[in-house]
Symmetry: C2
Subunit: 579 residues, 2 copies
């Protein structure tokens, strides 16, 4: 009974054995993550086009719900860069930024996303995430990183600009170059440079000063907090806000409010596809992080239970003033590195953020938006990695094509088009490849019972016997190809008496292909050529046995290609050698 | 030079050797086909919601253009039932039936369809038709036949009714049952019964009366003309038209007019997807007929040139008052059976129809619409064949599911949804199957060098060696499955020292799968287990050699599984037996 509950409520599993040591490790991790999350949450909320407090709210209840339903011990759930950008795009299509309707639509998006994730989990549809190939994900994340960084440039420059594609953003920035605010630019550039230095130069420096690797790491993560503190003080001290520098301003001091997503049919219809994309992208990001971290400690992640955990987190976000969330890469790694042992670390982080939401928000009044933009830029540029282009170019042109299309379309037409096109394109390329399968004419490798391609290996052949190994399942997409290929091979080959279709790579024969095989069999029969099969796999054979095909077959089915060879090859030397 | 032209203009090929005998055969076929086509063309135009003469016009210029550009010797191009229905659905979405806009939109649809077909031909995209699996086509044609027959019932009953789905049509008929016109019903039922009898009972009778099979066949095809003549005379003689019986009425006496399709962006946008579906469905119907007939005479069909031929025919229809056309099954078979030898038969048919359009149209003034409906019903019911459900149920549940969904969705939601869903569903089912591939643990078949599934055959195994044959290409959809499957097999198996992945069925390893293989290799390395590959195909090996995977591989690549067995199996009895 407990076992069955525990499957759906992993908290019952680790909760029962929770030790004092785990508590202290979890608490330390929570403090570190909380400090890191405060500026990040504010920043991502602004990226999503929402008021800054939405980022904090989206990190509180969702973390707790994930701790109850999720299976990863170290995953930290909350707003992440890519999902924030996708939220801005999706909600921007249905509401004006800054209106009540915008915030309500963001809640609706979280609700839909939560429902989709939870249902996928209940119906065990986690495998759908597999349709995102590695190159498509890598291309999409890289292009999104570039888009996000570009979208933040306006805050660094202190100008107005808009757009959801790289071209729109760049053109819009270009039109406003005359409006650059020098104070904003100074703070923005300084913060960005400082954060880059923290990331690249601070850790080696601290190590040289004798800090332990772990402490140096933690200190490095506090870089953004230092940038926030210093720039906030600068703005306050120099009175820059009065001279037009954009600041965060008033943030309500409050626990996450109870909110109600807007539920009109129009809105649900308009947001469904974006919610689906956000769910799948969010799930892929989250499960990748969770599996990487779990593997390091020999723990297991259940993808379908993860869907339920993320679904619960998003439903939580929808009712507590948040927006779509997922397991974030950066925050999860920090949580893991800081020593978090159980999901309770997440719950303590939630408490820390709740305290911050109630007590610390007045402190960020003078926080410059340029500083938040700088933290985003530095964070997302670490996601940008164009090396996938080089790697796929070397390995497979089809994969390269899928990556480049995903990158170009994401940059040129936006995140939704980019990722959808990437998925469809990689499926189409796969189907195209299977539509013209590789076919090898094979012969016997001398001294063995093994058959290989006559063009790649020195093999024995027989002019009366043609053995073709079709390297693909036979199904509707290539059924016609198969028929044309075999009939073309037969045409004009007077010596030919037998054709063997070596089926070692044929994993399925569907109904369309069966019809073609029947046609080939009839045609070869008219020509007086025997049609044989060899090495037919069990599941394929089971299915053929339900039809009349085997009765009508103008030849035999051989267990192995070697059996076929011994029976059909008529070259006497070959027969003698074989026996 | 001539050769190059001949490739794109097949007319240059057969035209140069055109003989007096071919001329006479073609002329006879043309007369028979013309007689059959007159009522059919009128009927299909009404089915498409167009004035009856549009059906004649759509049969004249398109036939001639196909004769010049097409590769089939016997194909007869013109309006066909399914495409007429699809035209009614598509054009009905953008214009009111009976308006000028409706006819203009039908021309636009033909123009778009012609352009799509011709471009597919030029870019050699004929393979796209392969994405329609046999079950989906069979289901779609059957369901369309039912829909068309149902849509004609209103003409038999003499009532108003509308709808593009079976439910709509039946409900609409139900509401109008009180308005049934007895005279129309009498003529409609009599014509339908007569045509069924002609189809089923007349030919045996004529054979019994001593007619040659071929003559009996031709006489049978003239059945619709007899029905047309008798019912027209009855309506005229009894003055039924004045009592409200629907007749064809005035049909202009004219050669096909020069027409201009409407070309607004809105219209082109709205009709693009329907035109694409019509093009592909039309192409599939046409190529199936053409290949069947060509095979009987050992002739060849070039699918890409066929696309150009059909494209030219549709462009012709667009500018001469027609609507989308394709190679029809019934008319092509009649043409073939009547002895047509070259596409010139089509040209003579066009001349016959042109004479009919100029001279004979007054004769159909009193032709009852019920008679035309009867010819359609009898023609399409011969397409209806639900046996595909039984056949696929026995062979493959996935194919059965694709057929049933196609039939139900076509009947329930219309032709466009039905065929699109069928295609998407069969692709999705295929991908789903490949996402969880069949994996066999294999052992050595005693006395051979052949390896088979340990659960299906008596084979030798070795506890330190696990050989897995994955029956699928390794690509992004199943890459994660592969990793989980292997790691699960390893867990808790203490004796295991080597894993061999037998790649005889692995036709591709894409970049996503390569990354997973690298992960598996690392993980097995940590566990001290060797990771080997066997029977890797040439193209797959070529690609692996471009990476570092083979250098880092924690094991070997064996040419054959038997080599792997000899090298790795440690069971002494086995080793001795093998050596």
């Amino acid at each position: 009974m407990m076992q069955r509950f525990a499957r759906y409520l992993p908290v019952l599993d680790w909760g029962r054995t929770y030790s004092r040591e785990a508590l202290s490790n979890d608490l330390i991790a929570a403090v570190i993550v909380t400090i890191m999350l405060i500026p990040q949450s504010l920043a991502y909320a602004l990226l999503a086009g929402l008021p800054p407090e939405a980022g904090i709210y989206a990190s509180i209840v969702p973390i707790i719900l994930y701790a109850i339903f999720g299976t990863s011990r170290a995953l930290a759930v909350g707003p992440v860069a890519v999902v924030s950008l996708m939220t801005a795009v999706a909600v921007g299509q249905v509401a004006e930024q800054g209106t009540m309707g915008y915030a309500a639509a963001a809640l609706t998006l979280a609700l839909l996303s939560g429902a989709i994730l939870a249902l996928m989990g209940v119906f065990r549809l986690g495998f759908l995430a597999n349709f995102l190939s590695h190159p498509v994900i890598a291309g999409f994340i890289t292009a999104s990183g570039v888009l996000i960084a570009a979208s933040q440039l306006k805050h660094i420059l202190g100008v107005d600009a808009e757009g959801h594609t790289l071209v729109e953003i760049v053109l819009s920035l270009g039109r406003h170059l005359g409006d650059i605010d020098p104070a904003t630019l100074a703070i923005g550039v300084a913060a960005t440079a400082f954060l880059f230095w923290v990331r690249k130069g601070l850790k080696p420096l601290l190590r040289k000063l004798g800090l332990s690797p772990r402490l140096a790491d933690v200190a490095t993560k506090a870089g953004p907090v230092a940038a926030v503190a210093v720039t906030t003080l600068a703005v306050w001290g120099l009175g820059l806000a009065d001279r037009g520098l954009a600041i965060v301003g008033e943030v309500p001091q409050s626990l996450p409010p109870l909110t109600m997503p807007a539920l009109t049919t129009d809105l649900l219809g308009a947001l469904f596809v974006p919610a689906l994309l956000i769910s799948i992208i969010g799930f892929v990001e989250s499960i990748s992080v969770a599996q990487t971290l779990a593997a390091k400690k020999r723990q297991r992640i259940d993808p379908n239970q993860e869907l339920i955990g993320l679904g619960a987190a998003n439903l939580g976000a929808a009712f507590t003033g948040g927006y779509p969330v997922t397991g974030g890469f950066a925050r999860s790694v920090v949580n893991f590195d800081a020593g978090a042992e159980t999901p309770a670390a997440g719950a303590y982080t939630a408490i820390g953020l709740a305290i911050a939401a109630v007590a610390l928000t007045p402190l960020v009044y003078y926080l410059p938006r340029a500083t938040l933009a700088a933290t985003i830029i530095v964070a997302v540029l670490s996601l940008v990695d164009f090396s996938i282009l080089k790697k796929t170019w070397a390995y497979s042109k089809a994969d390269f094509f899928a990556v480049s299309a995903t990158i170009l379309l994401t940059l040129g037409l936006g995140v939704e088009v980019g990722v959808s096109a990437g998925v469809l394109l990689s499926i189409a390329l796969h189907l195209y490849k299977t539509s013209r399968p590789h076919v090898a004419e094979v012969g016997l490798v001398p001294g063995t019972q093994h058959f290989r391609n006559i063009h790649r290996h020195r093999v024995e052949t027989d002019e009366r016997l043609l053995t073709l190994r079709v390297d693909e399942s036979l199904y509707f997409v290539n059924a016609r190809f198969l028929e044309e290929m075999i009939l073309n091979r037969v045409a004009g080959n007077e010596a030919l008496r037998h054709i063997v279709l070596m089926c070692s790579a044929v994993n399925e024969i569907d109904y369309s292909a069966l019809e073609r095989l029947e046609g080939i069999n009839r045609r070869l029969g008219e020509l007086g050529i025997g049609f044989h099969l060899s090495e037919v796999k069990g599941p394929v054979m089971d299915r053929l046995k339900t039809t009349h095909f085997l009765d009508e077959l103008n030849g035999q089915v051989f267990l192995s290609q070697y059996d076929a060879w011994r029976c059909l090859a008529t070259n006497p030397a070959v027969r003698n050698a074989a026996e």
